[in-house]
Symmetry: C2
Subunit: 309 residues, 2 copies
């Protein structure tokens, strides 16, 4: 594999996942991942373009941004690409009237959509609303349709909350796919259209952007399929086995000296990698230095350019 | 395809599914499928051996038999092969201590099983107990295991109740498989071991028995994989699209003149096929006559020996 400087040449913008990268969700909205508020502030002062690319579908984009701003993040609604608004566009374009298997928190995103006489099902991360009764109702709606259409806002397997790992929408999408003998259409990561829409908003080509996320398939694999490069952080849902994923290899990971919370050096995930004077003074260094410069004196096998499997 | 007389030659015993064949589940245990009580009585007076092979896992075998007897069916506990007792044998043999994702109604089947410090998950048709919290707990248990073992009592997609189609255990099995990146071990139909255990109880070889069920994959495909022949009824979860299933072709279906409830002749599913003097007088006719003799004067394309696709 090429050296870091080569692998990250020409990067002009960063797409950031939110859950597991900026914060760990949980009670009262969760907690910021230590250092991430400051790191985002520095990143936004740099010359790199920044956009947020999330599969969050349990709350509306407005409420999500409100929560993040309350935590101190520099973020606005217009900077966020999220699946519910994207799904509304698809529904309108195709004349689809959804039965919504979603949480109450995201229902407002669909207030302009006709939900009478449903001819499809939209499934989102519904959390506690994934009762047997609600899931079964969606199943029955699908089974009554001649051509059942299931639209899934992302297909994540699970995410991390402060209380532990939590089943994500993808698990329930698979349940309905199997029960109905159909294949869902995914709006959100890892669908190429979703990444491309985020890139359009940034005015960048795929080869000019890098995705930073905690999901080896949804973030890393999805972005790479679109021609982007992608780094997996060791926070959020990251698990050591991701480093040996049979199909997806990240273009990099935050290095051992930067990982959180297991690092013996006490640094803090991807955020730690941005705590560098190179960012605070603007992008005067190659992107790989901005993203991966170590902030300790201890040699790091990643940012020193060691090859990775 | 060969004529019926050839296809059913040498049948000495019948394996009967319960839900969708004898009864449609629902409120207060559901209702018998019209004619099935009388048909079973006649079948048991014949020289054919009869056994019940069910994936019912929401109630214990004892309670299931109690319900059926209350409805008037001639059935005893010892005649029923069901997945919970079979799973207990597997758990004991392999020293597994399950976390149970099951309904309260079947929990008594596991009362002799050590459930402390779980090293596997057993999932059954839990119905309303498939809350997000319960499914997520099972997911978390699996994710904490070094070698996650998921044992599923059947893998049915759905079943029919009087109130409509209901999601079965298979949908939730798929959800956990996807979320954890594992493959479940199925105890129950269509696992070959399960059919073989029922055949052993009957003292029959596979080629001597015929399975009658409403599930084209679990009943028909499963039995055929073991070398049995299998008929799909047009009651329960049967859907017209089953007749064009891409992988499984039934050895026969109850004929149009016998189907329930759509038949213009008013006959009643597989039960109707047994309302024949051939059964009441013992098996003096070839099995295909016993199972498929029409009871009206109207020519029927199945029991008249027409070939099927």
């Amino acid at each position: 594999m090429a050296a870091w400087s080569e692998r990250l040449a020409g990067v002009r913008g960063v797409l950031l996942d939110i859950s597991g990268v900026l914060l760990d969700g949980g009670k009262d909205g969760g907690v910021p991942i230590p250092g991430s508020v400051e790191a985002l502030a520095r990143l936004k002062r740099s010359q790199l373009k920044v956009r947020f690319c999330t599969n969050e579908s349990q709350v509306s984009r407005k409420d999500l941004v409100g929560l993040l701003r309350h935590m101190g993040f520099d973020i606005s609604e217009g900077e966020v690409t999220s699946p519910a608004p994207a799904a509304c566009l698809v529904l309108k374009e195709r004349g689809l009237r959804p039965h919504l298997l979603v949480s109450d928190g995201v229902r407002s995103e669909f207030h302009r959509i006709d939900t009478s006489k449903p001819n499809c099902v939209v499934i989102a991360d519904a959390g506690e609303s994934f009762s047997y009764q609600n899931v079964n109702k969606a199943f029955q709606v699908l089974m009554e349709l001649e051509n059942p259409v299931l639209i899934s806002l992302g297909k994540g397997r699970y995410y991390k909350q402060t209380s532990g790992l939590m089943l994500d929408v993808g698990a329930y999408m698979k349940a309905l796919e199997y029960a109905c003998g159909i294949e869902a259409q995914v709006v959100g990561k890892p669908a190429p259209e979703f990444f491309q829409s985020a890139l359009r908003e940034m005015g960048l080509e795929a080869h000019e952007a890098i995705m930073i996320g905690d999901d080896i398939v949804g973030d890393v694999g999805g972005a790479q399929s679109c021609g982007m490069r992608a780094v997996q952080v060791r926070t959020g849902k990251f698990r050591p086995s991701d480093e040996h994923h049979p199909e997806v290899k990240a273009d990099g990971r935050d290095s051992p000296c930067l990982s959180y919370p297991t690092s013996h050096l006490g640094a803090r995930g991807w955020a730690g990698s941005l705590q560098s004077r190179h960012v605070t003074t603007g992008i005067q260094q190659p992107a790989h230095r901005v993203l991966l410069t170590q902030r300790t004196g201890v040699p790091c096998p990643v940012c020193a350019g060691a090859t990775k499997g």
